[in-house]
Symmetry: C2
Subunit: 320 residues, 2 copies
C-alpha cells in the first residue's frame, strides 16, 4: 500500500488502513519510519477531539472503567479509540491486548478502535509511537482518544504530556487505608476517580474522595482557575460513569474558556520536540563507550573526594 | 595570598581566610576559578557536619527563625554557618545581607559565619557557588550549615539537592486560609515548620500542622522509613526552636540508621556532576546563534502542523 493509499484510507476512517498505518509507526525499520513520518505530516484531523489519559495501579479496574466509559461515549454517537503506554507489556501484546478480551463489549463495537501498547522499545519509544498513533486515530475520525497506562516508572508523566485531561483511578478506602499517591503524580492529576464504589464500599469511596480533596486543596493548582475534580464510580454497576465524563467535559470547557486547550496542545508538541532532541543528545553524551568510561572515572574521583563535581564536569566536558 | 596560605587559614578556621576563599569561589574570573577549584579539591573536613536547607515565602520569618536556631546551636557549643541561595538578591547583597543587620545577635557571635547569597549569575551559578562555599565552611570547622532560600523559581530544588535535611517554614492558618504548597515542593520537604505560632495563633498553627500532616499522609514518603516531620514554632518567643532542632536530629539519625546519610550526599555530588555537564551541553544545543535559529524554524513548522515533532527533532539533530 502506498502512503497515498494509506492516507486516503485513514482519512476515510477505514480500520484496516488505520491499523496498517499504526503498524508502520510502530515499526523499527528505517524505511517504515520514513513512510510513517511522511504519513503523519500529511494527515489532518478536521474535527475537535478529546484526549484523556487514564492511569491507576493494576487491579484498580482500568479496563472495566474504559469499557463502561467507551460504551457510554459510543452511545452518545462518538467514535472512541483506546491506546496504551505500557513499557511493561510483554511481547505477547501487553496489558490492553489482555484487556481487549475483557473489553468484549467495547471491542465488538464498530465505533471503537482498541490498540494494545507498542511492545518493543524504551518508555520514550513506546510513548512516541502511541503519540503518533493518536494523531492517526484522530485523522481516522475518532472523537475521543483514551490513553491507558499502568503507571510503570515514568509512564504516567509520558501520558499526561500527550493528553488534554489526565484522569487517575484509585481504590476506595479512608484514612490509613488510602493508597499513597505516587510522588509527583498529584501535580499532574486533573480528575481523580475512586473506582469500585460498590455497595458498602460506596461510603468509604465518598470519604476517600473527600480526604483526597482536602489534600489537593493544599496544592497550588495546575491551572489557576481550574480546580482538580473528584468522582466516585462503580464501573461494574456503571454508576457514576456519566458523571465522570461530565467532569471531563467541564474540565475541557474550562480549558477552552481560559484558552488553554490549544495552547496546552501546542506546548506539548514543542516540549515533545525539545525532549526528543535532548534525549538523543544526552544519550550520546552518556552512552557512547568512551564517554561512559570517562564519566565512570570522574565519578570514582568524585566519590573518593579527589575532585569536586564542578571540576570533574569541566574536565569531562573538555574531554568530549 | 597563595592557595596554600588560604588552605592553611581555612583549615585553621580563620574567618578572614574563609571569607577570602569564598570570594574566590564567587569570582567570575577564570584565574580565580582555577584557584578556587584547586582549593576545594584540597580542603578536607574531618568532623561530621549537618546541612539544613531552610525555605519559606518572604514574611514567614526566616531570618528570625535562623537567628533563634543559630543562637540555640551555638549555645550547644556548635559553630554555625549561614549561606543563601537567592537568585533574586540585588547587587546590594541580597536578602541575607539585609537579614544580617536583623540577625544582630547571631552575626555578633564568634561561632557564627553569615554570608549573603552570591549576587551575580544564573540560579545554577548561584547554587554552584553556595555549594562550594558550604564545603569551605565545613573545612573551616563549622558544624552546621544553614542554607536559606526565599524560594524564587527553582531555588528550593537547588537547595534541597545540596542539604541533608530540607525544612520549610509556613505561616499559621487553617482550612481555606492555609497557603498552598508550591508545586513539587511537597515531595522535597523533610520537616515542615509552622512559624509565628504566637499567642492566639498557636491553636491555628497546631491545626494547620495537623492538616498538612493529613495531606502528606497521602504521599508516598521520600524515604520509606522516615516520615516527614511537623513542628510549630514561635521564633520571636523562641518557643519550639529546640523541639524543631530535635526533629532535625531525629531525621538525621534516621538517615544514618538507614545508612542513607552518606549515600544521599554521594548521590547529590554525582547528580551535581551530571547536572553541570548536561546544563552546559544543552546550553550549547539551544543557545548558540545558529542552533537557536534552526530550532525556531522547526518550532514554527510544528506549530503550523507542517511537520511532526519527531520529524522535526530528526531533522534538527541532523543539522547540528
Amino acid at each position: 500500500m502506498t502512503v497515498h493509499e494509506l492516507l486516503q484510507g485513514v482519512q476515510a476512517g477505514k480500520r484496516r488502513h488505520l491499523a496498517k498505518a499504526i503498524t508502520l509507526v510502530e515499526s523499527n525499520r528505517e524505511q517504515d519510519q520514513k513512510l510513517a513520518q511522511e504519513l503523519i505530516s500529511k494527515v489532518q484531523s478536521g474535527k475537535e477531539t478529546i484526549r484523556v489519559g487514564i492511569s491507576g495501579v493494576p487491579g484498580v479496574g482500568k479496563s472495566t472503567f474504559i469499557e463502561a466509559l467507551g460504551s457510554l461515549l459510543i452511545n452518545q454517537g462518538l467514535k472512541v479509540a483506546v491506546l496504551a503506554v505500557d513499557p511493561s507489556s510483554p511481547a505477547t501484546g501487553g496489558s490492553i491486548l489482555g484487556d481487549k478480551t475483557r473489553m468484549e463489549k467495547l471491542s465488538s463495537m464498530r465505533e471503537a478502535f482498541i490498540r494494545p501498547s507498542p511492545t518493543s522499545g524504551t518508555l520514550g519509544g513506546v510513548a512516541k509511537r502511541t503519540r503518533e498513533s493518536m494523531i492517526l486515530c484522530e485523522a481516522a475520525g475518532y472523537d475521543v482518544i483514551l490513553v491507558e497506562t499502568v503507571g510503570v516508572g515514568q509512564s504516567e508523566f509520558e501520558v499526561a504530556s500527550m493528553v488534554d485531561c489526565f484522569l487517575v483511578l484509585m481504590l476506595p478506602g479512608a484514612g490509613d487505608s488510602l493508597q499513597g499517591i505516587k510522588r509527583g503524580i498529584m501535580e499532574i492529576i486533573d480528575i481523580l476517580v475512586i473506582n469500585k464504589a460498590d455497595g458498602d464500599q460506596e461510603k468509604l469511596a465518598k470519604l476517600a474522595a473527600t480526604e483526597y480533596q482536602n489534600a489537593f486543596h493544599l496544592l497550588t493548582p495546575k491551572f489557576e482557575n481550574i480546580p482538580v475534580q473528584f468522582a466516585t464510580v462503580s464501573s461494574v454497576r456503571k454508576k457514576g460513569i456519566d458523571e465522570t465524563w461530565e467532569k471531563v467535559i467541564t474540565f475541557i470547557k474550562a480549558l477552552k474558556k481560559e484558552s488553554l486547550f490549544q495552547s496546552q496542545r501546542k506546548e506539548q508538541e514543542l516540549n515533545w520536540f525539545k525532549r526528543l532532541v535532548e534525549d538523543e543528545v544526552l544519550r550520546k553524551i552518556w552512552n557512547t563507550v568512551e564517554n561512559k568510561k570517562a564519566a565512570e572515572k570522574f565519578k570514582a574521583k568524585i566519590a573518593s573526594g579527589e575532585i569536586s563535581p564542578s571540576q570533574a564536569a569541566m574536565e569531562f566536558l573538555n574531554q568530549i
